[in-house]
Symmetry: C2
Subunit: 212 residues, 2 copies
């Protein structure tokens, strides 16, 4: 499993001419690290001296978001390996026989199904990264100011995970013939990207303000 | 060493209440992965079928950049661990005695030196990430179009490594009293960020165009 490789081995695997692990797995990893950094900021805030100055209702939100981020990181970690097999269905479908018209039709359908399944993985990654960005807000505003740079890096990473995963949704979408499905996913991609960009900008604004 | 940890262990270390590894080490890692992804695109281009369509002078540049990116990734991998000890000098200086005026002066000088040394590591990381972004251009324009999403993710990561590292330069800079030094580094930070943003935007434009 990819997640059992050490950093040097993982980087070597990425570098190799094997297309997996590629941008999809990497997007999930990077989003996960971004979430973990925000958890660190939580650990340097919740229950620490600085926590006394955080209003009670914010404390509640911060602690709830901390747990949600932990879950989100776990989901992203799973996607690291999932993404590297997401395309297997498409590859398998391409190898189906195409001697008769019936076989051709079945093969074409299987390929189309394969693409739809393949893009579900990065789409899930992108949604999780947007979720992370939204959960990070309370740490940007009320987290330990000594760790504000870590909130900043966490923001950059959750956003990179989002846009990176959406690249992979879009490239798979190009092979899909089902117009309705394509339009629906295109709209989702645009919404996720627009929301993600806006949330990232807001977060970075707070980070730069608190960084002084 | 951090680079010997597997992905799950590394994510756990980031999450912990220990401030290292934090955003600094993570920025170097992310930049390194971005470079490795671009090397993968190189491996899926150079010597492959698609390579026949690449003009000769571009081939030369692509092969030279491929090697430079390999070096750059190696440098960034080293920074992952270096960054987590970069602040040790500051911590050590803070523990120096401060009983006499002389001791106070020596301690204060040592703290200042510590901060200067501490920011050198993320500054080097940021410069290396800008270098990466510039080296990626030939892969965005002439790399295998089937791997264009990987160029996109590589771009996002090299940029995140750059801006993330600069956060860490800036936070250390705030403690430095030497006006001339501070002004000089502030100018460098602004130049790196401006160049990095512009290069990232150009690269992403090409990626989205080729993604279609």
């Amino acid at each position: 499993m990819l997640v059992e490789k050490n950093l040097i081995e993982f980087i070597d695997e990425v570098k190799s001419s094997n297309p997996t692990p590629g941008g999809g797995s990497v997007s999930a990893l990077v989003g996960g690290i971004g979430g973990a950094l925000t958890n660190m900021v939580g650990n340097l805030t919740i229950g620490n001296k600085v926590y006394d100055q955080v209003p009670e209702n914010v404390k509640e939100k911060m602690e709830a978001n901390f747990k949600e981020i932990e879950n989100s990181v776990e989901k992203l970690v799973k996607i690291i390996d999932e993404d590297s097999t997401a395309f297997d269905g498409v590859m398998k479908a391409f190898k189906l026989p195409k001697n008769t018209d019936e076989e051709k039709k079945a093969r074409s359908q299987a390929i189309q199904e394969g693409y739809k399944e393949a893009l579900e993985v990065p789409l899930r990654c992108a949604k999780e990264c947007l979720n992370l960005l939204e959960l990070q807000e309370v740490f940007a505003t009320h987290g330990n100011v000594n760790a504000i740079t870590d909130v900043g890096v966490g923001t950059l990473l959750a956003y990179s995970g989002l846009e990176g995963a959406l690249f992979n949704v879009t490239i798979n979408l190009k092979s899909i013939k089902d117009e309705t499905f394509r339009k629906e996913i295109e709209d989702t991609v645009n919404t996720l990207l627009t929301k993600g960009k806006a949330t990232k900008e807001e977060l970075l604004k707070v980070v730069y303000e608190r960084l002084g």
